[in-house]
């Protein structure tokens, strides 16, 4: 046991495969009751991280604690309180939804009475009451995913971990899934860890997110604070539109401290600088009677994070 305020905590968690580092000294801290999104492009090491948290894969270095239990040393204790929805969850096709849930209940040592009670309640919750007695082989992807949620909740876990829960669902299914996950946290008070490469979809419901790229956690926190962290050492790029737009203006801007370069195209001026120059620029323009028509600091928003790390994947 290890006491601490964080229900999920990792310390320099590292996994190497044949010299390739899949997860690189990850330090993750997740508080009880929050929804944390582990967001990163495919191949960032998200699934590997989850497997280490569940004790299904042994870390090369570092440690992971789940509710104070060492995930590597006490995997059974961890798996008793963690519900896991794997990426591409599978069920026994020739068993019904109910039978699949019953099997999981037995593996968790639930009593017969409790099992049936929970199955009824959960099928209701994921809207599979009618499909419950049909073979899983006949289910659609969305139904399978919902059955996966029910399956995960059979053990009434404190913590739930979902790997790409919205992948392959239609827009309606995605919304439904996200609502369901939100409810699990807000209504039931469970801690939720979602891994996804679908930044836009998933960040909406997260209290905090971690941007996870190539095995490294680039930034973590509320979504609004991420831009600053991710682009900390990058030059600031400011987009402005100013009237009148003439040579004097350009010279004026170039003359400012900390401006590195300036580009002028199609009525828009982009200024690169080391620090945020918005305040200075505005007062400078005022002094010289220029009118500011538009100003935007580029590279500090979710969009920019997305463009930089996620768009290459070709999926959104």
């Amino acid at each position: 046991m290890r006491d601490g305020q964080f229900i999920i905590e990792t310390q320099n968690l590292t996994k190497k495969y044949n010299g390739l580092t899949a997860v690189d000294r990850l330090n993750l801290k997740i508080e009880k009751g929050e929804i944390f999104g582990l967001l990163g492009p495919n191949g960032a090491g998200k699934t590997t991280t989850i497997l280490m948290l569940l004790g299904l894969t042994e870390p090369t270095e570092g440690k992971a604690w789940i509710a104070g239990h060492d995930a590597t040393r006490e995997p059974i204790l961890v798996k008793r309180i963690v519900g896991y929805l794997p990426d591409n969850v599978g069920f026994y096709q020739d068993m019904t939804g109910r039978e699949n849930l019953r099997y999981v209940a037995q593996l968790n040592g639930l009593s017969r009475q409790e099992t049936e009670k929970r199955i009824d309640a959960l099928l209701e919750r994921v809207r599979l009451v009618e499909a419950g007695d049909k073979k899983v082989g006949t289910y659609s992807r969305g139904m399978r995913q919902r059955l996966g949620i029910a399956d995960m909740l059979m053990k009434d876990p404190q913590i739930i971990i979902l790997d790409e829960p919205t992948l392959g669902l239609d827009p309606e299914g995605i919304q439904e899934m996200l609502d369901l996950i939100t409810e699990l946290s807000r209504k039931d008070g469970r801690t939720v860890l979602i891994s996804s490469h679908l930044l836009y979809q998933v960040q909406k419901i997260c209290d905090r997110v971690g941007i996870f790229v190539k095995g490294k956690l680039l930034a973590s926190g509320p979504i609004a604070s991420l831009g600053e962290q991710v682009f900390e050492n990058q030059p600031q790029v400011l987009e402005v539109k100013i009237d009148p737009e003439n040579e004097t203006l350009l010279q004026l801007i170039k003359g400012m401290d900390s401006v590195e370069s300036i580009k002028h195209h199609g009525g828009m001026i982009t200024i690169s600088s080391k620090v945020d120059i918005r305040k200075q620029l505005v007062s400078l323009l005022n002094q010289h009677n220029f009118t500011l028509l538009h100003m935007r600091l580029r590279g500090r928003e979710l969009d920019d994070i997305y463009r930089r790390y996620f768009a290459k994947e070709g999926v959104s």
Partner: protein, 317 residues
């Protein structure tokens, strides 16, 4: 906690139910029943004629060992089909779960990882045991009806030992196929690997043993007695690397009390020997090493599977 135990019991029952409900099991059962009963039937017909001429000592056992007419004996059928049945029950044990995406869900439950392999293995053995015991009883019943002579107590014991040997032999192939289902990602690959190994051990190893023995101790016109002996020993010991060979030797000995030795024997050693039969205890003593060998191979397969599974990465797909 007892939690691991619970997990094993649940897994075992699930696997057992899966086997019994599967089409695969029905096909295997039909195959075994038809060939087994067919060969026993044709053996019984042959025995009816033979009793009159040779007397009826251990006649019941001949149901299992003699080949009447066109069909091979029950024993050779089982020796041939046994590996296939063991392989059929286990070749997709683990990789099947993996490709269906159920393995990661299963292992996310609070059970010990080895319970998964153990549950599958025990369920497979149970299916094999039930199948073989029923088949043995069916053949015995058929025999009593056809030849009209009930088995003696010793015959019954020999048959039970034979069935026990067969269960161990088939479990060995089950363990091999489970091991392959861990080593290979594709179920087709693990099935083929199993069949390849079976063909090698059942057919090619004895050919290879012959080649090696003839190379080391060639037998020609000038060959001495000792060369011939060495040749035979090398050949036999190499063949014994195969569990099929061990099983064949053991079951022939147990079902045929007339078998007194398994190694080569010289005419001089036979001089003065009275042809007779071995009592059960002596037959057992003769094949004790075979039993040990079969169980040891079983354990080795199982240990490798166990270690490998513990270290294996669990990912869906």
């Amino acid at each position: 906690m007892g939690m691991g135990q619970t997990g094993l019991g649940v897994l075992y029952r699930k696997e057992l139910a899966d086997h019994i409900k599967s089409k695969r099991f029905v096909i295997i059962l039909l195959l075994v029943a038809v060939t087994g009963l067919g060969s026993a039937y044709s053996a019984a017909q042959g025995i009816q004629q033979a009793i009159a001429q040779e007397g009826n000592k251990f006649v019941f056992l001949r149901l299992f060992t003699s080949s009447g007419g066109s069909l091979p004996s029950f024993l050779s059928f089982i020796s041939f089909l046994g590996p296939l049945i063991g392989l059929a029950l286990g070749f997709d044990g683990i990789n099947g779960e993996r490709s269906r995406g159920t393995l990661s869900r299963l292992l996310a439950q609070p059970i010990h990882r080895d319970a998964v392999v153990n549950g599958k293995f025990l369920a497979g053995i149970t299916v094999l045991a039930v199948m073989l015991i029923s088949l043995g009883l069916a053949v015995g019943g058929l025999g009593i009806i056809m030849i009209g002579i009930p088995p003696t107590f010793e015959e019954l014991m020999r048959i039970l030992i034979f069935i026990f040997f067969t269960i161990v032999y088939m479990s060995l192939w089950l363990a091999i196929s489970l091991l392959f289902s861990l080593l290979f990602r594709q179920t087709a690959t693990s099935a083929l690997a199993g069949i390849a190994l079976w063909l090698f051990l059942a057919v090619f190893l004895s050919l290879l043993a012959g080649l090696v023995a003839d190379g080391l101790f060639p037998i020609n016109d000038q060959a001495s007695i000792s060369t011939a002996m060495y040749n035979q020993q090398v050949r036999q010991n190499l063949s014994r690397l195969s569990p099929t060979q061990l099983y064949d030797e053991a079951t022939v000995t147990i079902l045929n009390p007339g078998v007194r030795t398994l190694g080569p024997i010289l005419p001089s050693q036979l001089e003065g020997a009275i042809p007779g039969i071995l009592p059960l205890g002596q037959s057992l003593l003769l094949i004790w090493p075979h039993l040990t060998g079969l169980i040891a191979i079983n354990m080795i397969c199982f240990t490798i599977a166990y270690i490998y599974f513990m270290k294996q990465e669990i990912r869906a797909g």
